[in-house]
Structure formats: structure tokens, C-alpha cells
């Protein structure tokens, strides 16, 4: 079961399903990196709202996605982490350091837009 990726202007939107296997996540990583390159996207939103567990593997790979897409010029925002999941993650020491986060899709888009605006100013 692969993760659907939508293109919205300069941004890519990926909505994860609740039964996200390790393979799904690795495939998502590769596909996002490829499309960011192909479309010259400046932003990626990964919506993890349905995820009921975020463990070390998921955390590691989300950070890797953020890192790799940044190398190709895109900012990644993880949105939709639920309160219970956030709590468990922090207890386990999984902090998604270095990766931008937002409450949901709407907030995530706003964040990307403001970041793009800033970047644009400096170009």
C-alpha cells in the first residue's frame, strides 16, 4: 500500500495511512526525493494524522526525508502528530529534531508559504 503524493503548485502533499509499513515509508522517501527534483518543489507536507504510533524507525526516516529534500531545495513540514503520539515520542526520546512541524495541513501550508516568502525576499 503506497502513500499518495499530490502536487499543489510548488508544494508536494503526502498523506500517510494508519497501517504504514517500513517498506511504505522507504518508498515514500524515495518518491518524494525524486519528485522534489523533478518538479523543483520548494515545500513538502507529510500528513501523519492517522498514524497511531511513531517509533524510532519512523522518526529516523522522516528526518532523513526532511534532510534529503532540503538538499534538493525543499522544506519539509510534518503535520498531524496526535497528542498521544507526541507524548509517547517524547518519552522515548524521539524528538524529530531539525524537522519543522505544524498542527495540520492548513497550518503546514501557511508555514511553508511564510518560509517561501522569506526565502524569496533574500534571493
Amino acid at each position: 500500500m503506497s502513500v499518495p503524493i499530490l502536487k499543489q503548485g510548488d508544494f508536494l502533499l503526502a498523506s500517510v495511512q494508519s497501517a504504514l509499513s517500513d517498506t511504505d515509508l522507504l518508498t515514500l522517501r524515495d518518491e518524494l526525493v525524486e519528485r522534489v527534483g523533478r518538479f523543483r518543489s520548494t515545500g513538502v507536507i507529510i500528513d501523519v494524522t492517522p498514524l497511531d504510533v511513531m517509533d524510532s524507525f519512523a522518526t529516523r526516516n522522516l528526518r532523513m526525508i526532511a534532510h534529503m529534500t532540503r538538499l534538493r531545495g525543499a522544506e519539509t513540514v510534518i503535520v498531524g502528530i496526535q497528542p498521544e503520539v507526541a507524548f509517547s515520542m517524547v518519552q522515548l526520546g524521539l524528538t524529530l529534531e531539525g524537522v519543522a512541524t505544524a498542527l495540520d495541513l492548513e497550518e503546514g501550508l501557511e508555514l511553508l508559504k511564510s518560509k517561501s516568502a522569506t526565502r524569496f525576499d533574500y534571493e
Binding site: V79, Q82, P83, F87, V90, T95, T101, L103
Partner: protein
Amino acid sequence: MAQASVGEAMGTSDELRKELVEHFRKVREPLRIRWVELMTEKGLLPGLSTEEIETESLTIYDTCVNCLATGSYEDAEAYAARMASRGVLQSMSAEQILGGMLTLRDVYGRSLFERYRDDMSKLFLALDMYEPVANQILAIVALAFIQEREKVVRVQQEAIRELSTPVLPLRASGLLLLPIIGMIDSQRARQLTEQLLGGIREYRAKVVVLDITGVPVVDSKVANHLVQTVEASRLMGATVIVSGLSPEIAQTLVTIGVDLSRLTTVVDLEAGVEVADRLLGYRLNKLDLPSPAHIQSERRPE
């Protein structure tokens, strides 16, 4: 009078028990009245009607004598449990409950002294039989009382906990205020965090001001709880500003090795709200008017 031998004493303990029980049953009315008299003198019975006093004192008296008679404390435990479930133990003071039982113990004891004053060795045997029973009954009542008290305390603590961690939305767009008063232990820290994370979702908060001015002890454990709360909030897209952490305490924590770099701290609540406003893109303009002063806020794009 010759002293009875130990063997003889042991052999007649059943007889002695029967004798004591018979004695207490015979003098029940005078002893009970004496007991009530003494309790009234000591002021242990306010708020109870005459009927209540009579019924309860009869029951307690009989229960104690039954324990002596049967050697089993089931009756006393059952009585204590009944008192607990009726809420009697919660509404009475320690003085009333324990004082009442101690007075009864004395009344029984004096009665034995009176009865056997001409036979010291028999008196001692009687006391040897009676005292452990009286003490055990006292312990049962005291324990039941303490357990009820602890129940009340727990309920109150829970209520205080709920009252003292309100999550307050400030302004229409995305500022949450969380003033914390009182000690933070692990359980409270967790409850606090859950409440805050729920609040972030419900109010779509982007900035939280967590004020710990009212937290008396901030040690490394508390600091770590705060760090975890901040990090969990960040995962939901909210920035947390911790206000009310005094510079001295912050310095102490850093000195003992706590990593506060993950926290954004300000001196007090006001400063916290100011920083939050800036983060959210608000600026407060104070207009100079004769009176009263007006405060106007307008949204400025960053």
C-alpha cells in the same frame, strides 16, 4: 490467699473469659451510661441526638464484649466497615472517634479493677485477657479512620490538580496560557502535558505561555518534565515559552547539568505574553488619551 499456679491459671482461662463476659453484660447499662457521661464531659458528642447516642453506644459496647467472648474480631471489623460506608468516619474528628474508644477502654478497665480489687492475681489475669482485646479493637477503628481520611485527601488532591492546571486560550488566534500553581510531580506533569497537548489541538494554538511562577520547587526532575512538555508541544507545531523561571534557579539547574537550551524562558508572565505576541505577529499600541487609556491591537504581517 495462695497464688494460683500457672497450670491452673491456664486451665481456667475459658472459665475466666466466660466470667468476664458475664460481668460486662451484667454491668452493661451502668457502664454504658458512665461511658456516655464521660464522653459528654469531654465534649466528644456534639451534634448527636440522644437516640443516636444510645443506639451507637449500645452497638459498640456489645460489639466489644462479643469480641472478648468469641475471640474473633469479625464483629468489630464489620462495624468499622459499616461506619466507613455510612460516611460517619469522614464527618467525625480523630478526637471524637479515638477519644470515644479510649474512654470506653478506660471504663471497661476500671470496672475490672473494681470487680477484682480483692484478688490481685485474678485482676492481673483478667487484665491480661482483656487488654489485648481492647487494644485490637482500638487498632481496627483507628485504621478504618485513617483509611477514610486518606480517601478524602486523595479526592481533594485530584480536585486541586484539576483546578490548578487550566488551559486558557488568549486572543482569537493561537495563544494559550497555562499558569501552573503548586508542586509538579510526575503524575501532575503528565496530566499537565496531556491537557496542554489537547488544548493545542482544540484551540489550534501556535504559541503557549507556560507560567511556573507559582511552582515552589523547580528541581532537575521538574525541569526535565518541562523540557518534555515543550518538545511534545513542538511536535504539534506549537512553540512553548516558559515564564516565571527565576534566573537564579535557571543558573542552578544549568550548573547541575540540566540542559535548558531546549527551553525558551522569560522572567514573568507579562514578558511571556509579549514574546508570544511578537511570535504571532501582534503588536500592542497604547494610545495617549486623557482617560481612560485605550489599548489597541492590530495584526501586522511579519
